[in-house]
Every structure is written in structure tokens, then in C-alpha cells.
């Protein structure tokens, strides 16, 4: 029997890995991959808690919802990246500094 702690440990590892990728990589697509990892860790958390605590389908529903949002987010994000690449001919994150005051 796999315990809740194991799921949470996996979720934690995914979360930290996502943060690390998001901060450390300079490629925008890699950063978006990091975001996906974080979202997946959150979805995993939902699924684990609903299996071990509530024992109903609420968490699964939230997980599905997160997957949908992640898909949408990835679509929009990739569109922005493509548009950015058309303008700057690069996807290096440090070049996207127009928001600086």
C-alpha cells in the first residue's frame, strides 16, 4: 500500500523541480515546461488527498480541471512565444524585459 506521504513526496519533488526549471532555465519554452511541472504537482496533490482523506471524486474533478487549464495555458503561452520569436528572433527570457519600468 502506497502511503499519502509517498504521493506528497513525489508532488513535492515535481514542484521543486518545476520551480528550479522556471528559475534556472533561460529558454521560455523550458520555463513553460517548469510551469507544467508545478501544475502537475498540484494536480497530483488533489488526487492524493481526495483518495486518502475524502474518498470521493472532488479531487479528480479539480485534477481534470487543472489539466484543461494547463492545456489552455500552454496553447496561449506557446502562441505568445511564437509571436515573440517573430519579433525578436529569439526565445531567450532575458530579452523579454520590456516590462521594466
Amino acid at each position: 500500500m502506497v502511503s499519502l506521504t509517498s504521493y506528497l513526496f513525489i508532488s513535492f519533488v515535481l514542484f521543486v523541480a518545476g520551480i528550479a526549471v522556471m528559475i534556472a532555465r533561460k529558454n521560455i519554452i523550458a520555463i513553460m515546461l517548469g510551469i507544467e511541472l508545478i501544475l502537475n504537482s498540484a494536480a497530483l496533490n488533489f488526487a492524493a488527498y481526495t483518495r486518502f482523506v475524502n474518498n470521493n471524486l472532488d479531487g479528480h474533478l479539480m485534477s481534470l480541471f487543472i489539466i484543461v487549464i494547463a492545456a489552455a495555458e500552454a496553447a496561449v503561452g506557446l502562441a505568445i512565444v511564437i509571436r515573440f520569436f517573430q519579433i525578436r528572433e529569439t526565445i531567450h527570457i532575458d530579452d523579454a524585459s520590456q516590462l521594466q519600468a
Binding site: I19, M22, I23, I31, I93, D94, A96, S97, Q98, L99, Q100, A101
Partner: protein
Amino acid sequence: MEYTISQVAPIVLLPFFAFVINAFIVKHFTKTAVAISCVSILGSFFFATRVFFDFLNTYSSGYYIHKTFTWFDISYGAFPFKLDMGIYIDNMAATMLFMVTGVASLIHIFSTYYMRDDKRYGRFFVYMSLFTSAMLALVLSENLISVFIFWELMGFCSYSLIGFYYEKEGAGNASMKAFMTTRVGDVFFLLGILSVWSVVGSVSFVDIYAAIGAGKFNGLYALGIPLATFAGFSIFMGTIGKSAQFPLQVWLPDAMYGPTPCSALIHAATMVAAGVYLSLRCYPLMEAGHLTMAIAYIGGITAFGAATIALVQTDIKAVLAYSTISQLGYMVLGVGVGSYNAAFMHLITHAVFKACLFLSAGSVIHSLHDHHTHAHVQEMPRMGGLRHKMPLTFIAMLLCTFAIAGIPLFSGFVSKDRILGDALVAATHSKWYWGPAILGFAGAFLTAFYMFRMMFLTFFGEPRDKELYDHTEKETLSWNRNLPLLILALFTLGVFFSGSFTGQGIIKVAGKKYEWFQTLIVKPDTKSFMSYRKQDFQFEPNRDPQQFEMSHYDPDHGLSEDEAHHVHHIHHIGALVSIVIAAAGVFLAFMMYVRRTWNPGFWVSLLSPWYRSLQNKYYFDDLYIKGLIQKVLLPLNNLLAFIDMGLYDRYIIDGQEYVNRVFFTAAKWFDNLVVDTALVDGNGAAIRFFNVILRTIQSGKIQFYFIMIILVLTGYIWNLNI
């Protein structure tokens, strides 16, 4: 006549409006200004005539119009401090109004002849209008404060008119001298007003009379002298200054620098008359203060002294100026010896004949034009024989000279003789009055002499300056030159004042004949004023019914039969003496200047020290200028200047500046260091510091933002203390 304010106010307001219009609206249109002035004074004369004849016809000695309104009232508790302004007309004021407006009208008309070529023709009329309206307002004044206001206004006008030809240095000095000399009297006058106010609590004439009647002045002292004496003398000092009496007479001869018509106005109707008018108004106060003897002496000395100076003058206007001082002396003498109505009568008669004399002199001077210097000639040694050139002026001036010299049947005789008669009566009662009486008679002799000397030198004999004489055009009758002279000359006849040739009555009251002047002008009976009530200033007729009754003329003035007989007897003697000495004066002048039997040079050499002092006007100018001003006032001035410049400026003002400088340095240091450096710059530095931090955070690098978010969230979760 029903009295409403609209029938009295125009007397003053018409000339005043003429002044306002001329001075501020039409000043550049000379002809218009002159027309406005003349029309307004004639209108004023019309209203004054109505008032005068109304008073004359009702013939009541106690007939007053008295209206007041409150000017300001700042009374506090038991301390009354309230001033009522208003008009007060009694018989004296009504007569005075008639005289002033009449004489002033004629002078205005004459001025259109005399001043017509002057470059400041319009400006002259501006001053004349203001001058006349100030005098009329003074006559109508209800209280001493309002008298004082118009008194000063006249002082200003005389200043302006005397200095009318301000290009001449002498005119400027003379105007300043007139203003400053009268100012000496004015200061005392103001002091007198205040001392009266302190006792009576009001400065209204009526209240003053009532207070004297109630004996409020008894037992009060100021500076150790009785308060009535103090107040009376202070007010009389105003008269001394304004009417050019003995110690302060120096300004009047210098007033000759003004144009001749303005001299006529100053000497006859307005300025100098105001002083005597004031002392007559305050007569009960003088009497209560036992000042009559002092006043009589001042009048006598002035009458005699000025007459002696007039003996040696060669300028025709200077002779007239000294004769004015001398005649004013007679009026003051009349006040002093209790000859109330004769003093006032002399004021009126003198106003008429002196106005005429001055206008005649102006007529003579204006005709005599020196073609070398382009100036008018005033010196009598250059005249002579002018009666052939200007017969009308000669006739007018001769009649006036008869009047002033005291020839019987002329007005001057009637009034002056009465004053001298009363002086004699006073002398029989108290031997101290012999002084003024003798001075008066001696002055009368000298008056006759110097006036006829002037006439003979001007109009008789051979022309002494032939060229000047030949250049003078023969006089033809012109309305604005001769008409005023002849009208005034007509009124020098005694019959208008004395009633008839015998001196008794032309007015019939209840079947008896009375003399109008004696009946109208009586001393204010102070007791009767105690129940007098004031009327509000309103638009209703306010003839006071209690006061309105036919007076019962008493030729003996309430004296006992013996006393009345005595007075009549003395008056007869006085009249005889006057006639004799006037005749002697005329005869002496005739022998000296027409027949030339007696040589004036002999008397001059015989009395040469006296003659020199006369030519120097008894050294009064020297005394005042060298003695008083240079020896006393100048050192005082220097002392005050030293206190001001040496002490006050140097230590107080400069010291304050030093203290200010110290404070200024401290304030500057504080400002620089604390306010600017610490607060203003510190604020900026703080903002810049935070700016650097915040700017660093806002890097625009999205990964940096991730780190920040994570850190913040970590910190938040950390602090949840789960």
C-alpha cells in the same frame, strides 16, 4: 417765512458746489468756472437776503433757528462724548450772512474785471468760492468745533490766495507767514474749545451760554487761573491770530501779496471778520472770565499802533492793510468795553467800506501800468492827480474814506463813535479804562490823517510820475469795474445803519420808531438759554415759539434813569470829540499834502527815531524772525534735530537694525542648516534611497519576479506558524 433746511442750506452749499464743480470738473474752462462762481454767490446772496429780511421784519431780539444732527456719539457711561453739528441763526448770524454774501458778490463781480487778464483766472475763482462758503458755514455754525473746522478751511484759503502769485518769492513767504502766525492763535483756540468741552460737556454755543448762566464755571481752575478766564483767553487768542491783533498782527500787511480782490475779501468780509465774530459769539465767556479789560487794552493798542505805522506807508495797499488792523482794533476794543452791538456794527460797516476801499485801490492799481517794468504800480509817490483820470473810482473811494475817517453822516462815524463813547463810559466807571479810550481817540485822529493823506497823495495835486499818468487811460463806466464800487460806496452812508441822520430809528414798531441795529443785536442773555431746547435737523419749520415775541426796545438798555442820562451825556461828549479830532486829522493832512504849508519832512526829522521804528513796523518782524525764530525756535529746532538724528536715529533705529541683523544671521543659519539641508534635502535623499531599492526590484526580468514571489510566499507561509 417758513424755515426749512432747503432755504438755509443753499447759502453755504451754492458757493461750495461752485468750488467742487470748478475745481474738479470744469477747471480748464476758465469762462465757465467764472460764470459758475459768480452765479452761485449771487444765488447765495438771494437766499441770505430772504433770511435777513425775515429776521429784520419780525424784529425780535430773541429769534433763533437752531437745528442739529448728531455727528458722532461715543459716550461711555457718565462721560458724554457727543458732537452735534448743525446750524444756528440768530439776528447776528442773519446780518452777517447778508453782509458776507453781499460783499462777496460784489467782490466776485469786480474780480471779473481785475483778474480777467490773469493766466490763472479760473483758479482764482475756485479759491474765492471755497473761501466764501467756508466763511458762511462758520457764520452758520452751531458749535465751536464746527467753527474751528471752517476757521481752518479759511486759513487754508487765505494761504492759497496770498500765495496766488507763487512765482514771486515774497508771495510764498507771505502766505506761509500768514498761515503760521494764525496757527499760533489756532492752537490756543483749540485748547480753549477743549477746556470748554471739559466743563460743559458740549461745545454748542447754546449749551455754553446756558452753562455760564447756570454758573458752571464758578470755582473751577486750570493751571491756577479760573477756568472761564483760561478758556475765554484761549479762544480770544484765536481772535488775536485771525483778526491780526496786537502781538500777532504781522501777517496781515504781508497778505498784500495776493491779488487785490482777494485782499478785499480777506480784509472785509471773511477772514479777519471771523475772528471778531467769534469773540462776539463767545462774549458771555469773556465776560464770565473777567477778560474785558485785557481785550480792551489789546484792541486799543492795536488800533493806535497800527494807525501809527500806516502814517509812514507809501504803498497804497499797505496803508489799507494797516488801517484794517487798526479798525479791527476798534472792534476788539468795542468787545472789551462791552459795546457789543457797536462792535458788531463796526464789523459790518467796516466790511462795506474796507471792501470798497480795496476794490478802489485795485481799480487804481490795475489802471496804472508801468511800461518799463510791465508791472502795476502801487506806490503812492508815483501817483497824484488821478481824480481827473478816474472820477468814478475817486468818488467811491472818497465816500469810503469819509466813512473810515469818522466823518459824521457816514457809517464809520456811527459805529466807531459808539465804540469810543462806550469806551468813555467804561472809563468813567473804572479809571483803568482810560488807557484804551485815549488810545482809541488818538487812533481815530491818526486814522483821519493817514486816510486823507492816502487820498490826497493818490488823487489830488500834480501827477508826480508824468509818464505813468499820461499812459493811463481815462476811466469809463463799466459794469464790473465801477458798479461794485458805487454800490458799496452807497452803503457807506450812515443812514443805513443808524436809522436816520439824527441817529434814531427808521423802523416803526407799535407806533414808535426804533433803530434796527440796536434792536436786533443784543448781548446773549445767558439765563434765557437755560431753558432753551435744541431742535432736530428735520425738514419742518422750527421757529421756536417760546422765543418768538416782539422785543421791547429799550433805548436805555435796562439802565436806571440816572445811569442812562450819564451814558447819553458821555456819548454826546464822545461824539463831539470824535468830530473834532477827525476834522483835525483831515485838516492836518490837507495842510501837509495839498496846501503843502506844513512840511511833513520837518516832523520826520524831528521824530526821526520814532519814524525809523515806524518804518520797521515797530521791529515786530525783526523780533519774531531774528529774536523768536532765530534765537529760540532755531536752537530748539537744532536740539530736536539732534535728539532725532543724533540720539533716536543713531541709537534706537540703528540699534534696532543691529538687533535685527543678529536675528537675521541666526535665522539665516537655521534656515540653511535645518530647513534646507536637513528637511528639504533630507527628504529628497530619502526618496532617492527608496527609489534605488524599488528600481532595483523592478528589473523587468521575469525570473527575478518568480524568485521574489517565491520568497514572499515562503516568508508568508513561514510566518503562519502552522
